[in-house]
Amino acid sequence: MSATRFTNQVDYGVGIGLRIPHYQHILERKPVVDWFEIISENYMVDAGRPLHVLDQILESYRVVQHGVSMYFGNAARPNRDHLKKLKALTRRTNTPWLSDHLCWGSVDGRYTHDLLPMPYTWEAVEFTARNIREVQDFVGVPVAVENVSSYAEFHASEMTEWEFLCEVVERADCGILLDVNNIYVSSQNHTFDPLDYVNAVSPERVAQIHIAGHTKYERFILDTHDHPVIDPVWKIYKRAIERCGRTATLLEWDDKIPSFQEVHREALKATRYLPEAESAKVEVAA
């Protein structure tokens, strides 16, 4: 839903991920883009070029932070140094909400730098919700958790992934970043109907949607973010928009990155499915 408490009451349209190969084009040409999503960790540094570029972007664009290593699903609690740096960055960017993944990635102080799948257990629900609440309270910005692509399932699981997601966000009272490409990838890898997933998610909690491409191998699909969005993923997106209404949408393209124009064009395909913003309707009516 647009402009809810999970988006800090702001209504964003279609954005793209800010990536290094596009820096020059964006800073020199200043193309019209509704918003950029940044990978928080790339800018959680002390000084230097990353922050210099970010500050220039912030002069002209709206930015939303997306993290890749908070690991809400870790058995351990969130790292304090990480939280402090993240909070400092939110003050810089004024991000209306921030997101990270429904996954784990480190244990006993050792990091995998991967988005690892959760065992869908009640125990994991409790710990994940606790960690999300702690991050949300510390940073003071609404948090949206993103479903990940996965390639393995645990015997220990006691529920489906979407049941797990719903339980976690209810207990943490947070938003959802619904990645429809990840739903598709996991549905193929684990053989479920992706629309069952979309239909189960609480639409009022969906703060943002991710779209992306992937790579199909003979026996599984990898979430590579290096292709255009395929039709079955658009179909899931269409259904998500039917349920959630106008929702901030973001295209991720992280490898074999084409020109800025091509990435932006691909992202704007989402507007075929998005209802107009209330503000736009008012302008037309006037």
Partner: protein, 318 residues
């Protein structure tokens, strides 16, 4: 505070408020699964880049992983976890390779890959940022010359410069020194600080020139995106270099948000090292020229020139 086998260390225990007995059991269970899976991920790949078929205790790995990972109609439990095992190593090796392209070019692909696996096993990532992955490499290379022989000295110097580049890229900066404060403070009272992002190095090999030769190779990548990669690239032209007759003094720094190398005269290097060590300006100047044959008037002129340049480069801080 409840005591439990699952609490990993006293240091961590201090930071975590007491949990109820029920929570603690839950924690142990979740942690147990995560410890098991991470053990699988951290085991190096085979020479054919697959998951090791034999577990630590001699059992088939397939048997071990099938205890906690479900198979599906296309992949066994082993094959499903192998995807993660491969992605872990390919991602970290990719970052490591990108940060130490010079070391790789000095050693060659096979030797570098072996070194990288040994290093990452000894010093797996302990922070949320892959930026810090190589922070222990120089010490590791010094402790394990057998991994880089016969080019150990060159590999160590290359690693020192490449780690200095990581620091120079995004390391912290202090406010630049106000020239007025130098003029107003007597030299024996004046203590100057150097920018923390700058590293001073004494080298035997012309690493700066060697790295310039490498500059047009390779490309950037989205290092923190967590997108999966399908395979790992491997192509390389070996980088060669001979030791210099006299030591090379190098500052690795940044200007206008780009990383640069600047060669220093030996006296200038000693002066900067003394300042970094906390010496007053007067003491630093004295130590810089203690072994120098340079006449005093010439030395004074050189110091003036150096400071002019260093101020322009923003090296001196409050």
């Amino acid at each position: 505070m409840l005591k439990s086998k699952s609490q990993p260390s006293a240091r961590k225990t201090e930071a975590i408020p007491a949990l109820s007995k029920q929570q603690e059991e839950i924690d142990r269970s979740l942690r147990g699964i995560q410890q098991m899976m991470s053990q699988v991920l951290f085991r190096p790949l085979t020479s054919s880049e697959g998951m090791q078929p034999e577990w630590n205790d001699g059992r088939p790995t397939a048997e071990v992983v099938s205890e906690f990972i479900k198979p599906n109609d296309r992949l066994t439990s082993f094959e499903r976890l192998e995807i993660y095992n491969q992605q872990y190593w390919w991602r970290l090796l990719g970052v490591f390779q990108e940060d130490f392209r010079g070391v790789r070019a000095v050693l060659g692909i096979r030797k570098f890959d072996k070194l990288a696996v040994e290093y990452l096993q000894a010093h797996g990532s302990t922070t949320w940022s892959v930026r810090d992955l190589g922070q222990h490499l120089v010490g590791f290379l010094e402790a394990h010359p057998e991994l880089t022989a016969p080019r150990s000295d060159l590999a160590i110097e290359m690693a020192r410069v490449e780690w200095a580049k990581v620091i120079a890229f995004d390391g912290p900066a202090l406010p630049v020194l106000d020239p007025q404060s130098i003029a107003e403070t007597p030299p024996d009272k004046l203590k100057l600080r150097l920018q923390p992002y700058m590293t001073l190095l004494e080298l035997r090999y012309p690493i700066d020139h060697m790295l310039k030769r490498l500059k047009d190779r390779g490309s950037t990548s989205a290092r923190a995106s967590n997108a999966m990669s399908g395979s790992r690239q491997a192509s390389l032209r070996l980088l060669k270099g001979n030791p210099s007759r006299s030591p090379i003094h190098l500052a690795v720094h940044r200007r206008q948000f780009s990383v640069y190398y600047k060669r220093l005269e030996p006296e200038a290097y000693r002066l900067l090292v003394a300042l970094r060590g906390g010496a007053s300006l007067a003491d630093a100047c004295a130590s810089a020229f203690s072994d120098s044959n340079m006449p005093e008037t010439q030395a004074a002129e050189r110091i003036r020139e150096w400071f002019q340049v260093w101020m322009q480069l923003g090296w001196l801080a409050q």
